[in-house]
Symmetry: C2
Subunit: 570 residues, 2 copies
């Protein structure tokens, strides 16, 4: 099967369609974005400069009929961290790109002047179109206008005002199955890279797409069936009545809180007294009672339905995929226990195009500095508007938690390599602490989710190897386009894990193994970071995590760093 | 001679007076501050945390009757750069400390709560006193109140509101001979470290100080005489009619501009069309005409008189030591050619306690972003007030040029290791470019001033060795307490250089050489940085300097980095 790479030089408006036949031919998704960044982006370049590239790549399995394979990878050198970055997002764009046999889109160089444009991708190729009328618009409105112009079936990848402003917390939105700008490649400020390329949106029109060709369609069908069965049979992931379908990813909130590892008020406590107002059950009950959708499928090929549609008391749509990380970041981490306020904040983050995790952490740091009080949700909403409007305060917060810490002289900033922590305190979940410290992306739970949600999570033993193994595994998963949520179902025993590599091999006629494939990606990413000036001394968590015990268990992060360095010297 | 180190634990209010007899006994000034930071500060600690220490050390020769030996070193891990930092300042404090036989003052740990205090140092030792009534006050008022309380002869080391706010550009003020808070240890945000220690001021009362004991007073006297003679006989440094006495450090502006290496409007041009309104001659004429003092001696033991006293048309005092870097940073670099406005801005920077270089560069970056127009001095003055008042805009600018660039999405930020460039464009003065890239302090002209002010400055050849040699030499000079301005006079030929080491050896009975002593300091500093995560890949200038030719000569910075790395691998 011929897969293409569309290479767009923003400065000259030249568009080339190249066959993905050379050095990149074995890669897809995160594997492809990282290979291109490593090969083509000067590691010491300025992330907002002409040298950086934005790479958009569907997973290897995107476009096939494998369930839950609709993830899109977006890569660049991160403006937030200075490291390599792959930010992963759902929605419908990956599936369309896959069916168009597009392995990747590369945006290169910088526009001359302030010109804003968007890109239309369809079966004919790609073209650049003026986007001056979209300047400054929020994501939902951008999508609405582009769907009006190009039809309701298109997928839209877009940035909001924060991306145009090149904020380090800017996200890239991707439309869901209903055409809402509700899925976000949130982390690492890649929306700023898209903004620096003068690109407001990419419209993917999959009409009459040729579709994928299977190297061995029988073998593929068989593996895909095994994979689908594991999901259908898991209590966590089965449709409609599975944990994720009912409670969404927020199912995890109660157990993390119970474990005492639920970061509260800028990581000063491990349990939140208001947890029952915002946890999975509260979310489910609220949505059900009001007539929203708890078991929503936001992404192409999704059968897990971990998404939801949150409505207000009058059934008006507020936001979609109000999920755990967001509810935590804008909720407990800011001392806020009001779901309606959190839903409103999530929508605002989606509209302005900012990462909910980075935003919640930045606001919590500002709250620690006394800018607003913990728990003040009206104040928090105001602050998000300031980010959207690009006020000076908004520019501080929009630059992320680390910059907020600097501007307010706050020492306690939960971040690794400049990217703020997700919803797991490393003092109570030490495997995740190792992942935060060592992931090539900065603090990232999806990069290596090591947690059993029991007491052993507080034990430093064995967590280094577990994190490394999981990081390698997830690098492979992120390359396939398969959704993290599916990992709750697949095991060695039920054959789900093998099914993933079998599908890839059957599709392309390859003979890869998960370990080799994933390890190669991690090595590529770490070698970019090394060339960008990162050493093992950057694989460290902030000092306060080793010194300040976390209530209620009063543990610190005590995984020995020398053990980490040895193991990650790949 | 017994020299003491006063060690103050801020958290417990304990004060220990230790003899400087152990590992630190051979060090003074920058040598001492860097030795202590290297030995006692965890390299990965947060600069505003309990682990960092603030070290104040007079030069080895401070307190003697050597001319121009009144420089004070202030060291810490820098909040601005994350590197080791020595910030060097004149005034009268070093001389008093020298006469009190105090080699250094170390502030350790962190205060409990918001307590603000000041420290009184006199011949009895030191004591901590409450400073709640000084909270939020600007530097001149702080000094005025403390002199009222402790007498007009005391020296005061203090921070303004920016230091209390822990801004990364916060300076530490030291009083001049008239008791004005006009001398500043500007660079690296060490004022924030003092702020984080809850310390508003240090009052040095030299009354009845024992004075220094000379190991070999005859040899000292002889070397000191040679040294003094070189200064008296140099056209640059002689009192009253020397270039520095007449035009202050600003004497250099016209030649740097002539060379096309005078950074204008955020380093976008190498010549400023308004240079004649702000250069050395303009400054001299203005001061003379109005009855200010052009040949002012601001520091103890000064005979060079490179300072000045700038007054307005009604002869009211505006500021003192309006000097080249300041006039450039707040002037040409912001497109401003109005000396009165620049003088007012300098005074405001002194009052609020911020580095004029970092502030000017941050404002210029903000101007590039369109916050104000280049040349808008009223706008620039407003911005400085915002820093002083701690508004959100002020917090961005007060965090330095790099943070300002991040907040406004500006790629062109002239900085190395997060510290903004001084007044020499590395594309036209390549030796200084090497110093900016490699100095353990981040971009710093005083760390290794390599410039002949002729065409050869644009030639990349030979600049690496020249910078290394000069950095080693200046590390020694910074350890002695001798002023950079004196370097314009001393040469191998006139014996001035040898006289410096002879004075040190005669005073202490040592047998040091400049090269060994200086090299040891640089090695210490680089080894701290290495342990803090800095590698040769951080000895790099921003990308735009290698890509964007500087008018009018249209040169880029092209000293090969591999040559730099080899040479600086000490």
């Amino acid at each position: 099967m011929r897969r293409n790479i569309i290479r767009i030089d923003i400065s000259s408006s030249s568009i080339k369609v190249e066959e993905n036949s050379g050095a990149y031919s074995n890669w897809g998704g995160r594997g492809l974005t990282s290979a291109i960044v490593k090969q083509e982006v000067p590691p010491l370049c300025h992330p907002l400069g002409a040298g950086n590239k934005l790479i958009i790549a569907p997973g290897l399995l995107s476009g096939t009929n494998c369930v839950n394979s609709g993830r899109l990878s977006i890569g660049a050198k991160s403006p937030l961290t200075g490291t390599i970055k792959e930010s992963n997002v759902g929605g419908t764009a990956a599936q369309s790109l896959g069916k168009l046999n597009i392995a990747g889109i590369i945006l290169e160089n910088k526009p001359a002047g302030d010109k804003l444009q968007y890109i239309l991708v369809n079966k004919e190729g790609a073209q650049l179109l003026p986007a001056d009328d979209l300047k400054g618009l929020k994501n939902y409105e951008v999508v609405s206008r582009l769907r009006e112009k190009h039809g309701e079936k298109v997928s839209v990848i877009s940035i909001g005002p924060a991306g145009e402003n090149c904020f380090s917390s800017a996200s890239i939105a991707v439309t869901d199955r209903e055409g809402r700008a509700s899925r976000h490649a949130g982390r690492g400020g890649i929306g700023a890279v898209m903004g620096s390329k003068g690109t407001k949106a990419i419209v993917i029109d999959g009409t009459d797409a040729p579709g994928v060709e299977y190297h061995d369609s029988e073998a593929f069908k068989e593996a895909a069936k095994v994979f689908r069965t594991t999901i259908m049979e898991s209590d966590a992931t089965k449709p409609n009545t599975g944990e994720l379908a009912m409670y969404s990813m927020n199912a995890i909130m109660a157990p993390v809180n119970e474990l005492g590892a639920f970061p509260t008020r800028n990581f000063s406590q491990g349990q939140f007294e208001g947890v029952e107002k915002i946890d999975g059950e509260a979310l489910y009950n609220t949505i059900k009672e009001r007539g929203g959708i708890y078991n929503h499928a936001g992404c192409s090929q999704c059968i897990i339905q971990c998404s939801n549609v949150y409505v207000d008391k009058e059934k008006n749509f507020i936001t979609s995929a109000l999920e755990y990380e967001t509810i935590w970041a804008l909720g407990a981490n800011c001392g806020i226990d009001n779901l309606d306020a959190i839903a409103q904040m999530d929508r605002l983050c989606d509209e302005y195009g900012i990462d909910t995790i980075e935003t919640g952490c930045a606001i919590a740091v500002a709250m620690e500095a006394g800018v607003k009080s913990f728990g003040d949700y009206d104040g928090a909403i105001e602050l998000i508007h300031e980010i959207g409007q690009g006020t000076p305060m908004g520019r501080i917060l929009g630059s992320g938690a680390a910059t907020t810490g600097r501007a307010f002289g706050i020492e306690r900033v939960p971040q690794s390599k400049g990217q703020s922590f997700p919803a797991y305190d490393p003092r109570g979940l030490k495997g995740l602490g190792v992942t935060y410290a060592t992931s090539p992306m900065g603090a990232d739970h999806t990069a290596g989710f090591v947690a059993m949600l029991d007491e052993d999570d507080r034990n430093p033993e064995g967590k280094v190897q577990a994190s490394l193994d999981k990081q390698i595994y997830m690098a492979f998963v992120d390359a396939t386009g398969i959704c993290l949520a599916a990992m709750d179902a697949v095991t060695e025993e039920n054959g789900g894990i093998d099914a993933m590599s079998q599908m890839v091999n059957a599709l392309f006629g390859w003979n890869i193994t998960i370990e080799n494939y994933g390890k190669e990606i991690i090595k590529t990413e770490r070698s970019f970071n090394k060339a960008a000036g990162f050493t093992s001394l950057h694989d460290r968590l902030p000092e306060f995590l080793s010194k300040e015990p976390l209530p209620p268990h009063n543990t610190v992060f005590d995984v020995p760093y020398n053990g980490i360095d040895d193991k990650f010297n790949l």
